[in-house]
């Protein structure tokens, strides 16, 4: 098991190197650079811009800059954000908690809604509930997240039931501890639903399809023949088997949520990583972009690793060592 984990980490290294090269090349090909904004401000002197070009090594070809960067990374230094002049790691850490909370909540939301709905849709196949839920699933899958986010903001603005964006209200720091928690929760409801909605639909479909597969298997007949109650057959025997594909699919959740959250966070004004990455991309704040892309990558791989481990834990037929 340990060997398996170590091997997965080792294979990450060449992948990350490849991705970082790709990011540097793409950033070099992309038109303009970080100093464009300063260049169009009439009251910033030319000498200052020259000094900055020198400091950021913007005149150098991308491979020179890449190796300077790589040298620093090997020493544990991911560089400094050009916009904020603080270390990239620190900048990312400021935003990670907010995004993780949102991601974790949307995963929980998605699973809590999708699993029961998928199961019910499978048990009552072709019933009116099944039809409605699949209609809902296709609709949710085909609506882009940012659009859903816009609808949510409109809903909040119209009804006034929820805040129109952000993570906390203006009065936040003057509240009691519980008041602050409630304030956070109040702000998290809409983003969680928006971000989780797409996953709800896809998990529900996966759950339903697998459940249907297993409902027809021999062990179900055996269990029924033994005289087990229908509830026990469905929720213990069938569910236990049908949940495996969902576990492996959840490996991608972290990564897809991260990419989804870039749009949702921007529309809903949520102070997470997405906002930061979006700004860094637009301004071409190179080291932040590279770090963010690599982090997304690490999250994808970690997510897959965790999914594999969970799968091994939930399904005794799977042995990681033999893979």
């Amino acid at each position: 098991m340990l060997f398996f984990i170590i091997r997965r980490f080792v294979t990450m290294i060449p992948l990350l190197l490849g991705i970082s090269v790709l990011v540097f090349v793409l950033m070099a090909i992309a038109p303009g650079d970080f100093l464009d904004v300063a260049r169009t401000q009439e009251d910033i002197p030319a000498e200052y811009i020259e000094r900055m070009e020198e400091e950021f090594a913007l005149g150098e070809p991308w491979h020179t800059r890449y190796f300077i960067w790589l040298g620093n990374v090997v020493q544990g230094n991911l560089g400094e954000s050009w916009i904020y002049r603080v270390p990239v790691t620190e900048l990312l850490w400021q935003r990670i908690p907010a995004t993780l909370v949102l991601s974790a909540l949307s995963i929980m939301f998605a699973l809590c809604v999708a699993i029961p709905m998928g199961v019910l849709a499978a048990i009552y196949k072709d019933s009116i509930f099944d039809r409605i839920s699949s209609m809902f699933a296709y609709a949710a899958l085909s609506i882009p997240e940012f659009f859903l986010a816009l609808l949510a903001v409109m809903f909040a603005a119209q009804t006034g039931w929820f805040p129109t964006g952000g993570l906390s209200s203006v009065e936040h720091e003057f509240m009691s501890f519980w008041g602050r928690m409630a304030d956070y929760a109040h702000h998290l409801v809409l983003p969680t639903i928006v971000l989780g909605m797409g996953s709800v639909a896809s998990y529900m479909r996966i759950m339903r399809a697998n459940f249907l597969d297993y409902i027809r298997s021999d062990f179900v007949t055996t269990a029924r023949a033994k005289g087990l109650g229908e509830g026990r057959v469905m929720f213990v025997h069938v569910l236990r088997n049908a949940i495996n594909p969902l576990v492996s699919a959840s490996g991608f959740i972290l990564a897809t949520l991260l990419s989804g959250s870039i749009l949702v966070e921007n529309v809903m004004n949520y102070p997470g990583l997405g906002q930061l990455i979006f700004e860094a991309l637009m301004r071409q704040d190179e080291f932040v972009v590279v770090a963010a892309v690599m982090m997304g990558c690490v999250m994808l791989m970690l997510g897959n690793l965790i999914a594999d481990l969970l799968l091994a834990w939930s399904d005794p037929r799977i042995r990681l060592e033999k893979n």
């Binding site: 992309a30 038109p31 303009g32 650079d33 464009d36 300063a38 260049r39 169009t40 401000q41 009439e42 009251d43 910033i44 002197p45 030319a46 000498e47 200052y48 811009i49 000094r51 900055m52 400091e55 916009i83 904020y84 002049r85 603080v86 620190e90 400021q94 935003r95 699973l111 809590c112 809604v113 699993i115 029961p116 129109t164 964006g165 952000g166 993570l167 906390s168 209200s169 203006v170 009065e171 720091e173 003057f174 509240m175 008041g179 928690m181 409630a182 304030d183 929760a185 109040h186 409801v189 929720f235 213990v236 569910l239 236990r240 529309v267 004004n269 949520y270 102070p271 997470g272 071409q284």
Partner: protein
């Protein structure tokens, strides 16, 4: 039962929990009034002439971007500068209502006979927000830091006059003297740009070479009290991507006529929103106190005015300018191709051609169709919002296609039998205009332009580029024919010298010339320098007016229209005075909450 958790009954619990939180959140309390510290008033406290008010209230604003840093040496964007200006003061500042430079940390100044030495007396008894006294040492320290080669910053170039850094020396504890290589009349204006730094806070970091790492956003997040200043506020808390909360600086040096220390507000809160539209929505739903409103949103926002008790004020023309221009740069790129094809360069460098194009452009129509009448024609390189410097009597180019054709004929252009305009050598007139995508008005302006040009027999191709590409093309590669852009505009014309001077970086049509290439550009250079050397305000204005005449006669930039600016403000705020340009809450320290209606 392994999967008990997933059974729908727990879903109901989950929803119930959310509802409970929701109920809790909706009964949140108001912000408690501030407990103010009492400190002696400084000897040279400034007494505000505004009507005395009373303490209390929270003023909430919104910005579409957050400050990147709280260190004035690092800041290069308006949002950081604004945040820094809340807690730091300059020596002088620009008063947007009086339209002149007024004292801030300097109490008064004296200009020597040769106009090169400026002696400033500082305000006595002023204290930093941590209680330490403010003296000439702080001023000297600030200027030493900004001329230190270890700390590149934008002010270094701004305070280099005629190629030489300004000199500064301390005469006594409350007097400093500046010297410039040549007489420089915008001096008093520009000297106020840099916020004076507290020496006692930064001296060690300065010595270690770490001054630029000081006062980053992490200071504001974790130790806001370390942002020590003399300004009206100090930072109470900063949450990136969310908001900044300021509270009054208990050592601030301005008082009202009843001896109450300003500012009146208990807290000033700036929320960060992702874009301008959100700001408008927040204002229209009564969640923030002030917001800039675009001409297109005025009607919609006014609908809620009585519900949330606010007014949308008309501020007159906006301060920025927008224009189209043609590339007039001669020569070849490194690859050996001409920046502009020679026959096109000949058109673009012809004054009559440029005048004809502007005459042929129906800008009056644009005002009706795009801005619904909430804009006016722009005739000069300085916006009419800048009343002191704007010259209203420059040559104007109204929509007049006949005049346009006449000018083109004088220059040797003739329409051929198919209606295409051709030059004397038989080339059909066509050019490409680059613009940056991203705002919804640009395409409307440019399609009108293209239609108008087609009426003259000119083919215009429009290409939209990403902003970075556009900047790179016009300022580094020079490979373009025409382009459209804008500048924001400042209070003093010295801020535009990068555009006006032929050696300027933003002399867009032909930047960074070693020697002025045309007589009129030489004339502009002369006028700019003359205006910066004279201390007689009327003379300065006259030079700047002449400069605008040359620009409008030669038309290197074809001005578009200038939309009107609108600002929304809640009516409960008293002492509001809305200037024609700049921030609407520029006198935030004097604003106070009036009686509730």
């Amino acid at each position: 039962m392994v999967f008990k958790f997933f059974i729908p009954t727990s879903l109901a619990h989950f929803l119930a929990a959310i509802l409970l939180f929701f109920a809790l959140a909706s009964c949140k309390g108001d912000i408690p009034p501030l407990d103010r510290e009492e400190h002696d008033l400084p000897r040279d406290a400034e007494i505000s002439r505004s009507e005395p008010g009373k303490y209390g209230g929270v003023l909430v604003t919104a910005e579409s971007q957050q400050p990147r840093t709280f260190n004035p040496l690092v800041a290069e964007d308006a949002y950081s500068s604004e945040a820094i200006g809340r807690f730091l003061n300059g020596l002088t500042t620009y008063h947007p209502i009086k339209e002149k430079v007024v004292p801030e940390l300097a109490l008064s100044w004296d200009i020597s006979k040769d106009k090169r030495a400026i002696t400033m007396e500082l305000r006595r008894g002023v204290r930093w927000s941590d209680g330490e006294p403010f003296t000439a040492d702080d001023v000297i320290f600030t200027f030493k830091a900004l001329f230190d080669q270890r700390y590149p910053n934008r002010y270094m170039g701004q305070y280099t006059i005629a190629g030489e850094a300004i000199e500064f020396e301390k005469l006594d504890r409350y007097t400093v003297r500046f010297k410039t290589a040549r007489p420089y009349s915008p001096f008093l204006y520009v000297i106020g740009f840099i916020g004076i730094l507290p020496r006692h806070v930064h001296f060690d970091a300065f010595e270690r070479g770490e001054l630029l790492q000081q006062w980053s956003m992490r200071t504001a997040m974790h130790a806001p009290r370390e942002l020590v200043g003399t300004g009206p506020f100090r930072v109470r808390s900063f949450r990136p991507g969310q908001r900044i909360v300021y509270e009054p600086n208990p050592h601030y040096w301005r008082v009202d006529s009843q001896g109450q220390r300003l500012p009146y507000v208990d807290y000033l809160i700036t929320r960060y929103v992702q874009d301008r539209n959100t700001e408008t929505v927040l204002f229209a739903s009564g969640q923030i106190d002030a917001a800039a409103i675009t001409p297109g949103d005025v009607v919609g926002v006014r609908k809620n005015a009585s519900l949330h008790d606010y007014t949308v004020h008309h501020r007159g023309p906006a301060t920025g300018i927008r224009f189209l221009w043609f590339n007039q740069k001669p020569g070849e790129s490194q690859a050996g191709t001409a920046y502009v094809e020679p026959h096109k360069l000949e058109w673009f460098t012809s004054r009559k051609f440029r005048q004809a194009i502007l005459h042929g452009f129906n800008r009056e129509g644009l005002i009706q169709s795009v801005y619904f009448g909430r804009a006016q024609l722009l005739h000069s390189i300085i916006s009419p919002a800048n009343e002191r410097w704007h010259n209203p009597d420059v040559p104007r180019y109204h929509y007049d296609p006949d005049r346009a054709l006449e000018l083109l004929r004088q220059d040797g252009f003739e329409p051929d039998q198919d209606g295409h305009l051709v030059d004397k050598k038989g080339n059909q007139v066509s050019f490409q205009v680059y613009a940056s995508e991203g705002d919804d008005i640009t395409p409307q302006i440019l399609s009108t332009f293209r239609e108008n040009m087609r009426d003259l027999g000119i083919t215009v191709r429009i290409r939209y580029l990403d902003f970075g590409t556009l900047v790179a093309r016009v300022s580094r590669h020079f490979e373009y024919e025409g382009a459209m852009m804008g500048f924001t505009g400042g209070a003093d014309p010295s801020g535009g010298r990068a555009i006006y001077l032929s050696s300027g970086r933003l002399h867009l049509w032909n930047p960074e010339q070693e020697e002025p290439q045309t007589d009129w550009e030489a004339r502009i250079d002369e006028l700019v320098y003359a205006s910066e050397e004279t201390f007689d305000l009327d003379k300065r204005v006259s030079y700047v007016h002449q400069m605008q005449e040359v620009f409008s006669e030669e038309l290197p930039l074809l001005y578009l229209v200038t939309p009107y600016a609108y600002v929304g403000l809640k009516n409960r705020w008293q002492n509001v005075r809305i200037p024609s340009m700049g921030s609407v809450i520029w006198n935030i320290d004097e604003l106070y909450l009036g009686p509730e209606k």
